[in-house]
Amino acid sequence: MLQNKLLFNQSSVSLEINGLPDYSNNENQDNISIISQWKLMIIDKPVIEGNLDHLRSIMKAFYSYSITILNDENASYNSQLIDIKPENCYTHILLLKSSKPNVKPLNIRIGNSVFADIINCFDQLGFSNKVKNIYSKEFKSLTNQKHSFLKYKKNISEFLLPPVVSLFSIFLFSTAFIYIYDNNENRSLLNYRNKLVSIQSINKLL
């Protein structure tokens, strides 16, 4: 059976995905749902290849590392398969550990331009309609964290808190003034009534 092959290119990086469509779901013949092999080809660097689990862990490593770089956190990622750490602000060191025994780890140094190309290749793969079953649950939670942070920031800090505080303070001040005003008014009414009674009594006396 012939396998389908898809290529995602971005300048100096090319990602090749080989696999088969899931015929039990009546999928299109051009789609890939069962990934058998993938290859990440970077110009002037050795080819990186593996199975679906390797692809997921490498994608997760690159995305996590890119988020830590952008958020000014301590940028380094360590896992069983791949380590990424910065050498300086424009060079990154990848340490790829093979799952096969007696194979030495592969050390690759890439610049920011190649790093951006790799991330963009993975983005193309993630948004492609032809390839399915790429995102693992862990990776989904990683992207959701960013979105939930955005919602939290919008809803609570920007919309809810300031109006609630202002309404509460207005309510406090206004109730205090109403109470004082009522007391004064009652007193003035009583005084007025007393005056009237006294005038009436004077009239009677006269």
Binding site: S11, S66, I69, L70, N71, D72, C89, Y90, T91, G111, N112, S113, V114, F115, A116, D117, I119, N120, D123, Q124, G126, F127, K146, H147, F149, L150, K153, K154, E158
Partner: protein, 111 residues
């Protein structure tokens, strides 16, 4: 930081619109953005694009920002502004995907 007397706060919808516009522009300008990044990676052999970008950026900052502010002075200081400029250009390079504007806005809100 801006060299302006208007103190108008930007609305959330305007902020989101600007972010989307920036992300869309980054998609079209990606070859140039990549060229600048590559020039910084390989500065000894190809320093021209990086130097041109940096000079123009510094020119724009000194035109439109309050140069008396300490933050702006630090941005203009050639000994420590490379890291900030690399981060700015890398952020643009990483936001060219379909939901790239979300990455860009979360990065800016986190700043």
């Amino acid at each position: 930081m801006r060299n302006s007397f208007n103190n108008n706060n930007i609305k959330l919808s305007e902020f989101n619109a600007l972010i989307k516009l920036t992300a869309e522009m980054a998609k079209f300008l990606y070859p140039y953005i990549r060229q600048i990044l590559q020039s910084r990676d390989d500065f000894i052999r190809n320093p021209k694009p990086w130097n041109e970008f940096k000079n123009r950026y510094i020119e724009l900052i000194s035109e439109r920002f309050n140069t008396n502010s300490m933050k702006v002075k630090r941005l203009l200081d050639p000994s420590c502004n490379d890291e900030v400029f690399i981060k700015i250009i890398l952020t643009l390079a990483l936001c060219i995907s379909e939901d790239g504007f979300l990455n860009l806005s979360s990065t800016l809100l986190n700043y």
